[in-house]
Symmetry: C2
Subunit: 157 residues, 2 copies
């Protein structure tokens, strides 16, 4: 399978990675969630070439994860803001960050702490079941084919 074929795979992760699987894209998104909005600020934060950065931002706009919004009329200047669809990537990003905090932080400890404005506590994210609210562990979850795909994806059962 070539990488270009990923977006056609009947696998949601493959389709997501066809958009986000690029090396820099998730770091651009991290910056977005930290409040970065302008091209020059992304460039400074990431230390990536302008060409690569422009390309990754364009792809994120095409995927409707970011939107270009004017912040000045003459001359026209635009900044990049997360759409609602982009905002919904937050659980995935925070889960990756939390895993890094836990396993890769080293003796200095995690660089950033996350504080929940609602309760004011230093916290991390916990994934729970949408139906019963219990924390989700891989061993407690099984998969079955969606309606359209019945009998076409899984070899077992």
């Amino acid at each position: 399978m070539r990488w270009e074929e990923l977006s056609e795979q009947p696998c949601s992760l493959a389709r997501v990675l066809a958009i986000l699987g690029d090396r820099w894209t998730l770091l651009v998104l991290r910056d977005c969630f930290l409040g970065v909005r302008r091209f020059d600020d992304f460039e400074r934060s990431l230390g990536v070439t302008r060409h690569v950065l422009a390309d990754r931002l364009k792809r994120l706009v095409e995927a409707e994860i970011l939107a270009k919004v004017p912040y000045q009329e003459r001359p026209l200047r635009e900044e990049y803001r997360l759409t609602e669809k982009g905002m919904e990537l937050y659980p995935a990003i925070l889960s990756l960050v939390n895993w890094g905090d836990r396993h890769l932080a080293g003796v200095e400890g995690p660089p950033l702490e996350h504080v929940h404005k609602h309760c004011g506590q230093h916290m991390h994210g916990v994934l729970v079941c949408s139906e019963c609210g219990e924390p989700l562990h891989a061993r407690d979850v099984t998969v079955r084919e969606g309606l359209f795909w019945k009998g076409r994806l899984l070899r077992r059962g």
Copy 2:
């Protein structure tokens, strides 16, 4: 910044991506969570070259995300199993999959449905605050520097 420098960045996401940011690595992990354990099965599932697959599996073992476990003695045959550290990547993977299910599934609908064994329901993951249990939205979370990093990372405040 070069990609090789990522693992030294004071950013947990950058460090995670230094391990997982490779194009195929997250798809190898997806297969692990779906129960794939043997080299030939990964190869069949991913359609990637044996060379690339061997390299990615080796890196995941080095990162202690997978462990090689013998399943036959003569001749020695080994399979790849998620360690506890690897299992803890499940929230990140499921969150990415759920986002893909929601935004990229197309008219056929999501290929796989997830069922929580505890409650028996077709479900998705919801990220909640470890302290107060409320669902986490990006707008409700703020960051501050960890103890070691005070005054060194954030320009604001």
